[in-house]
């Protein structure tokens, strides 16, 4: 009663395991058509400009004149340009001054928001998040009036309590503090919400078990909360790093294109913008942006390694 096995069966299996990609696409063309807008837009406005900027970084081009191939000379100029390295230093200084207090405060706020007895949690959450969706330009203008050298609100308060006023906008260090404070103000709530979500995902049973074992509050925080939050902390650190490395609007509105006194607020992105869109050195600006890519990539990698190991 054995049934003869059709000869064609093995052929068919072979054909199915090796379908040509294009025939597969053609078969599902209607589905591909539906998802195509994203890919088309990405090709035109994402991938092409990225590749073109790489090509451009080996050329000299003002937009209107001829594009001339110059090899690595844009990168050479970049590596020996003090203003660029100053902007790298500024960016890192602002990153450090903003991210450390920001993530600390975010954790504290998240912890407070997570207290079981807290009422109107939703309202607080919204309030902390609102800073993140406020127009940066408006924020920069407000901060400018707070930190003004002579007639600033903060200096007025300082003089009321007997501390002398500071020239916030004249000192290289204080300019960075002002920019960092804007970043903190804007993103502390955002990070707090993320931490809060992380805190709420930690199972209650772990805490209950710890209490039964006689652990105190500090032990619970450092032995349970922090280790379980590590992936969330890693996420915020990486996002903060990438975001801080690209700070542009804050210094641009607060200090103008020059980056303030002595370029103390000149960040990498502001430098690139000046070279590209103000001075029309498109080749050089592309080289700057690729240099930024390398720096941010390397720095994020180091960060990731450090946080993972800790």
């Amino acid at each position: 009663m054995s049934r003869p096995v059709p000869n064609s069966s093995s052929d068919r299996v072979e054909a199915m395991s090796k379908p040509s990609l294009w025939s597969e696409i053609w078969k599902h063309r209607i589905l591909y058509l539906f998802i195509s807008p994203f890919f088309l837009l990405f090709l035109i406005f994402g991938l092409f400009p990225i590749l073109f900027s790489l090509y451009l970084s080996f050329h000299s081009w003002s937009g209107l004149g001829d594009m001339t191939f110059v090899g690595f000379s844009q990168f050479n100029y970049l590596l020996t340009e003090p203003v660029f390295w100053q902007s790298v230093g500024n960016t890192f200084a602002i990153w450090f001054l903003s991210s450390v207090p920001m993530l600390f405060f975010a954790l504290v706020i998240a912890f407070l928001l997570n207290l079981p007895r807290l009422r109107m949690r939703g309202a607080y959450r919204t309030m902390f998040f609102i800073t993140n969706v406020t127009s940066i330009v408006a924020v920069a203008i407000i901060f400018e009036t707070i930190f003004s050298n002579q007639y600033g609100l903060l200096n007025y308060v300082l003089s009321l309590i007997g501390i002398g006023s500071l020239e916030w906008m004249n000192s290289s260090f204080l300019i960075k503090v002002v920019i960092a404070s804007m970043v903190v103000w804007r993103f502390v709530g955002y990070n707090a919400i993320i931490y809060l979500a992380g805190l709420q995902s930690i199972p209650k049973s772990l805490y209950e078990a710890a209490v039964i074992d006689g652990a105190n509050k500090i032990q619970i925080f450092f032995r349970i909360t922090i280790p379980l939050l590590r992936p969330i902390i890693l996420f915020t650190v990486i996002m903060t790093t990438i975001g801080s490395m690209q700070i542009f609007t804050e210094p641009e509105v607060l200090l103008g294109l020059s980056g303030g006194v002595g370029g103390a607020g000149m960040t990498m992105t502001l430098y690139m913008y000046n070279e590209g869109f103000i001075n029309s050195n498109y080749g050089y600006a592309s080289a700057v942006s690729w240099m930024m890519f390398i720096i941010i990539g390397a720095f994020s990698f180091i960060n990731w390694k450090l946080v993972q190991r800790a």
Partner: protein
């Protein structure tokens, strides 16, 4: 299923086609596209000019945001509007004069005499003798000063006397010392302006007409030294840009040299001091800040028509309307002299300010800015700010700015 496929594909394609098909204008009507920014031209003038050309529609677009970047992009694409407004950075486009219609080929010689010669000259590429644009407005500079504070400091306070006695930078600085001694008020607002307004009064700036760099000496060095003297005597309040309005309003600043258009900014910034300000001829002579141009792009398909419309938009009659409408200070001599513009201004103690402006407008020297004026100006401003507000040593600052410039120049010639 197959039918659905066809239907969807069909819908997709028609969508694409429809979005492309609407660019044709109404039949039989010529459309001239004009790019300008808010208050670069008076809107009513554009409508009046449109009425002068029957069968022509002027599609006037107020291009917001980064106007210059957008214009630059349009020039790269070789497919832009017909007529474009350009600000004082028009001089940077002289090196790309082939992108613009050479107005010398369109008989503009006939109207040349109507305009201020120095302004006319700014739109001509010295190398190819191509004229890329016609003048819209100008920004001649004068001395704005507080008559009450001048009187308190024992200085002359009537415009004529001030112009006569404070007739040079040396006299101006000396008056500044007296001002500070007697009243404690600062004569200058900041070093950047002190330097810039001096440079603007000179015919030699950073480059010769052959694009040879001369900013390491000559009038640039003199203007720099003068600013350093002001700094040494501490005649500026060392404030950030955002605080200038407050300082003007509370009487910490006794004077500044500024362009015509700064009168309105001053009125908004310092309402509490209304009636105390006067203007007079600036020590060191007249200069110019700002002022825009109107050019026709080479890519235009209606060059003759576009040039005629451009001429009409900046004619003597139009310039008067631009001034009355949006306070664009004229570049045509006859308009500057028209009597009904000579009105007393209460903010300036009922002074007839036009008299002073008109004199200044005629005194501005012929000059050449050069392709790299923009970056070089910002290099100098950066170092001046450092000296004034960061206590940087003046000699080091001068060395640093020259080093930066020689790097910039080497990069430009390498290309």
């Amino acid at each position: 299923m197959k039918r659905l496929n066809r239907l969807l594909l069909g819908a997709f394609c028609t969508g694409m086609l429809v979005s492309c098909a609407n660019s044709e204008g109404a039949e039989g009507d010529t459309t001239i596209t004009l790019w300008y920014w808010h208050r670069a031209l008076d809107d009513q003038v554009i409508k009046d000019v449109e009425a002068e050309f029957p069968g022509v529609t002027i599609n006037a677009q107020k291009v917001g945001g980064e106007y210059k970047t957008k214009l630059h992009t349009a020039l790269i694409a070789g497919n832009g509007p017909d007529i474009v407004a350009m600000n004082d950075w028009a001089s940077e486009y002289l090196q790309y004069s082939d992108k613009f219609v050479n107005l010398n080929d369109y008989g503009v010689e006939e109207i040349k005499e109507d305009y201020l010669d120095w302004k006319w000259n700014l739109a001509i590429d010295p190398e190819t003798d191509t004229m890329i644009a016609l003048p819209i407005d100008t920004g001649p500079t004068v001395l704005y000063y507080r008559a009450d504070l001048f009187e308190e400091a024992g200085l002359p306070s009537e415009p004529d006397e001030v112009a006569e006695q404070i007739n040079s930078w040396d006299a101006y600085v000396k008056a500044g010392e007296q001002m500070k001694e007697r009243t404690g008020v600062f004569m200058f607002d900041n070093l950047q302006r002190t330097y810039l307004q001096n440079i603007e009064q000179q015919s030699d700036k950073y480059f010769t007409t052959d694009e040879e760099y001369i900013g390491d000496g000559g009038s640039v060095r003199e203007a720099w030294d003068m600013a350093m003297k002001v700094n040494e005597l501490q005649l500026t309040p060392r404030i950030a840009d955002g605080e200038r309005n407050a300082a003007l309003n509370n009487g910490s600043i006794a004077s500044f040299i500024g362009a015509v258009w700064e009168a309105n900014i001053l009125k908004d910034a310092a309402p509490d001091t209304a009636g105390e300000w006067r203007i007079t001829a600036a020590p060191g002579g007249a200069g110019n800040n700002g002022g825009s141009f109107l050019g026709v792009l080479e890519s235009s398909e209606e060059k003759d028509l576009a040039v005629e419309i451009t001429k009409a938009l900046v004619s003597t009659e139009s310039q008067k309307e631009h001034y009355l409408g949006v306070e664009l200070f004229p570049s045509t001599i006859e308009t500057i002299e028209s009597e009904d513009l000579y009105q007393p201004d209460p903010f300036f103690g009922d002074q007839v300010v036009m008299e002073v402006y008109a004199e200044a407008a005629k005194d501005v020297p012929l000059t050449y800015y050069g392709n790299l004026y923009g970056p070089l100006r910002s290099y100098f401003e950066d170092e001046l700010t450092l000296v004034e507000r960061g206590n940087k040593d003046p000699d080091t600052a001068w060395q640093d700015v020259q080093t930066k410039i020689s790097r910039e120049l080497s990069r430009q010639t390498n290309e």
